[in-house]
């Protein structure tokens, strides 16, 4: 093309296009970034609370909202029930909301996310707890210090626990009767457990599996590591926290407490870890247990309630699940996890974490206090879908319709075994959990795979823990 084709008119036209485009680009660049909060109706000045949708039923969420309105009519509340299959999925969705600029003020966070939220997103509750100490005395007197300690990070309290679940052992009474066995005593050992599985296997048909477990951070291989007096990551406690212990707990209960847990050096190749894995591998080889299945054990209720599974680890949350599945209260029972070197149990707890991006932090604190009240928790946890963090709520009446007869085990786990602690959940928990699940599956996929898989797990854990979060 030659210049002769570019007429003055054409030149002026393209010039106008260019100027228009530049003006548009300039206008766009001068705008603030559009976020989800710009969607009309999103940011209506309410206190926004994100809960794990599947944790509370709609009636419970409604009760939560109405109770708060009665108490604080001046604070508009919006409960955002986020549907997710597990905590990891829930956190992913919360982070997507944060990225979209629609961060909630409060997030319901379980042990899996306590340290991640505390380190990156959360606000320590210390100043409010100190300010309202008199009001909170009744709460702390009702809640075991181990649960409170699991919500501390580097000396500060980040959540008031409202629920928890320790991994105890559920036993199917129908299967026990078939095997001519009884509910084992509280101090039973791992050998007793193996003998019971063999007895159950002998008395049942080929479609029966004595022990079912799910490959996950809570209740998977971890309880066996705890019983072997070891952990996936070296465990210690952060200094600090005495401001809380000295204020709310008597001397015998604050002994050994610190400023929260620290999980640091990976120790997957530790002999005790390997021994626990080899034990589970031996159960798989003997057909005494399922191979580690991924997921949330959603098919477990069906196979347990119909007598195709004899024993499985679960917390208080399962009483409600079995009841809904039609299991009689006396159709099953619960006992402590068996002892090996120790009988230390593992648990997970949950409460509300306040986000540092919240512009309504005082209102958020009022909600946290409200959510930890006994009457609120009674309204929220009506169907035994979890173990309330308040000891006083675990009563004969609560478990009369659902069972189990040994319901005291749920809370007594904390008293009887005071070293019982949370699952290891450092800020790098997502990678740690992924590495654990991946290599646990590989370790138990074939005989003699345990040690090589644990060596690979160790390498991956070291890499994960080196990552700055």
């Amino acid at each position: 093309m030659t210049d002769s084709h570019l007429t003055r008119r054409t030149l002026l036209r393209y010039g106008a296009y260019g100027a228009g485009a530049a003006a548009l680009a300039g206008t766009a660049a001068s705008w603030d970034r559009l976020t989800g909060a710009d969607v009309p109706g999103r940011d209506d000045g309410s206190l926004v609370v994100a809960t794990l949708g599947s944790a509370f039923d709609p009636a419970a969420v409604r009760a939560l909202r109405e109770g708060f309105r009665e108490l604080h009519p001046d604070i508009p509340l919006r409960v955002n029930a986020v549907q997710a299959v597990d905590w990891s999925d829930f956190f992913a969705k919360i982070l997507t909301q944060i990225a979209a600029g629609t961060a909630p003020d409060l997030v319901y966070v379980a042990t899996e996310g306590v340290q991640l939220f505390a380190r990156r997103l959360g606000v320590p509750l210390d100043r409010w707890v100190r300010r309202d100490a008199d009001e909170l005395r009744e709460y702390f007197a009702d809640v075991h210090p181990s649960l409170v300690e699991s919500m501390m990070y580097e000396g500060s309290l980040h959540q008031l626990p409202v629920e928890f679940n320790a991994a105890d052992m559920y036993l199917n009474r129908q299967v026990l009767r078939r095997a001519g066995a009884d509910v084992p005593p509280p101090d039973w050992t791992r050998d007793d457990f193996t003998a019971l599985l063999r007895r159950m296997k002998r008395s049942s048909d080929a479609h029966f599996t004595p022990y079912f477990w799910t490959n996950r951070l809570w209740g998977g291989v971890m309880p066996w590591l705890f019983a072997n007096d070891t952990n996936l990551l070296a465990e210690s406690k952060a200094p600090g926290g005495s401001w809380l212990w000295d204020t709310f707990y008597p001397a015998d209960q604050r002994r050994g407490r610190g400023g929260g847990f620290r999980w640091t050096t990976p120790q997957a190749t530790d002999d005790r870890v390997a021994e626990a894995y080899e034990y589970l591998a031996s159960l798989v080889r003997e057909d005494l247990c399922t191979r580690p299945e991924g997921g949330n054990g959603s098919n477990l209720v069906g196979v347990f309630s119909t007598g195709r599974v004899g024993v499985t680890p679960a917390g208080g949350f399962w009483a409600g699940g079995l009841h809904l599945a039609g299991m009689d209260p006396d159709g099953y029972d619960v006992q402590y996890f068996p002892r090996r070197l120790t009988q230390r149990h593992q648990f997970g707890a949950a409460g509300y974490a306040m986000l540092r991006t919240s512009k309504m932090q005082d209102a958020a604190w009022e909600f946290i206090k409200y959510a930890a009240r006994r009457d609120t928790l009674t309204r929220l946890f009506r169907s035994n879908q979890t173990t309330p963090a308040r000891r006083s709520m675990l009563t004969e009446a609560r478990y009369r319709d659902t069972g189990p007869a040994g319901w005291r085990v749920f809370y007594d786990t904390l008293d009887r075994f005071p070293d019982t602690g949370p699952i290891p959940a450092p800020p790098q928990v997502a990678e740690v959990e992924q590495v654990l699940l991946k290599h646990t599956g590989a370790a138990l996929s074939s005989p003699r795979a345990v040690r090589p898989a644990l060596r690979r797990m160790q390498g991956d854990l070291e890499q994960a823990m080196e990552r700055e979060i």
């Binding site: 479609h207 991924g294 997921g295 991946k438 290599h439 599956g441 590989a442």
Partner: protein
């Protein structure tokens, strides 16, 4: 084009310039400009959709792959560091290998089953029965892959699944469909193919119907029968459809996510972890959006390369009538 008037016969809008080269395109008439404007208006929603939902995310991913970003803090420029991390990450490399293995077996099986069934359905049978088969084979495709995978997870459960129960009836020991490194990938392929082959099946049925009967009759007169007729007549004439089915099949297979995520969560070990799973885990579980984008860009390049290779090879193997 509906305008039958040749441009050469039109009255020029303005006097031609003496210096204009003879090959210069005459300026468009008002009518053709109107047609173009109308066409642009009709295309605009599609173009805007492609730009907003495809081009912008692709460009965004490429840009993001050059940054470290964890959602919580502002992104920081990383240059090529994310790509360095990705190439040094064994899980990423294994996921690419798994995805390619999955793609080869899934697409081959999908095309083979779809073609065989299309040939069978295209044979002699009542019209109503043909409709039943067409609907039945296509039906899984309209279901959600995640829902199907949840159901399949129950069916293939080693201890409580129906599949092993049925095998047990004929004396076969339980198969670790989802918990053995060797069997898990095969199970994921089976579940994927079961859902996906309906699309290729429909393409093949359409392609077979487009082959003129006269050609088959001529082949029969020349003495070709059965398999020979399919190999020498049907397949060459169906090759354009095969190309489309394989291109779409490969692109879909390289992006597989739901089936391995629900059925095995990538396990045992990493044996069924695919590239898109790694992207999801890296971004949304580990908050490493830059590295996840880098993996996404590499997957994009891989898909482009495989598709380009297919079209290049198609020049030799695809016969258009």
């Amino acid at each position: 084009m509906t305008d039958t008037q040749s441009p050469d016969t039109r009255v020029p809008a303005r006097r031609p310039r003496p210096a204009a080269p003879p090959a210069a395109v005459p300026p468009p008439s008002a009518r053709s400009r109107g047609t173009r404007l109308l066409a642009t208006l009709f295309l605009a929603p599609t173009i805007v959709g492609i730009v907003v939902f495809t081009v912008v995310p692709i460009v965004g991913s490429v840009v993001l792959s050059l940054y470290h970003w964890d959602v919580i803090d502002s992104p920081s420029f990383a240059g090529g560091a994310n790509y360095g991390e990705v190439f040094g990450d064994e899980t990423v490399l294994v996921s690419f290998r798994n995805t390619l293995v999955f793609m080869v077996f899934a697409v081959a099986l999908q095309l083979l089953i779809a073609l065989t069934l299309a040939l069978a359905v295209n044979g002699r049978m009542p019209v109503w029965l043909r409709s039943v088969f067409r609907s039945a084979f296509f039906f899984p495709l309209v279901l959600s892959a995640a829902s199907i995978s949840v159901v399949m997870k129950y069916l293939f459960n080693q201890d409580f699944g129906v599949v092993n129960w049925l095998l047990g009836l004929v004396g076969i020991a339980p198969v670790p469909w989802l918990t053995s490194e060797n069997a898990a990938m095969a199970t994921v392929v089976l579940v994927y193919v079961w859902q996906q082959f309906g699309f290729s099946f429909l393409l093949f049925v359409g392609g077979l119907n487009n082959i003129p009967k006269e050609i088959h009759e001529a082949a029969s007169l020349d003495g070709a029968t059965g398999l020979r007729k399919h190999l020498s007549v049907t397949l060459p004439l169906l090759s354009p459809t095969l190309l489309v089915a394989s291109v779409v099949g490969i692109i879909n297979a390289l992006q597989v996510f739901e089936q391995p995520y629900v059925l095995t969560n990538g396990g045992p070990g990493d044996s069924t972890r695919t590239v898109v799973m790694v992207i999801y885990e890296t971004a949304f579980e580990q908050l490493r959006f830059g590295e996840a984008s880098a993996v996404g860009v590499l997957l994009f390049v891989l898909i482009m390369a495989v598709t380009a290779l297919q079209f290049r090879l198609s020049r030799r193997f695809v016969h258009y009538q």
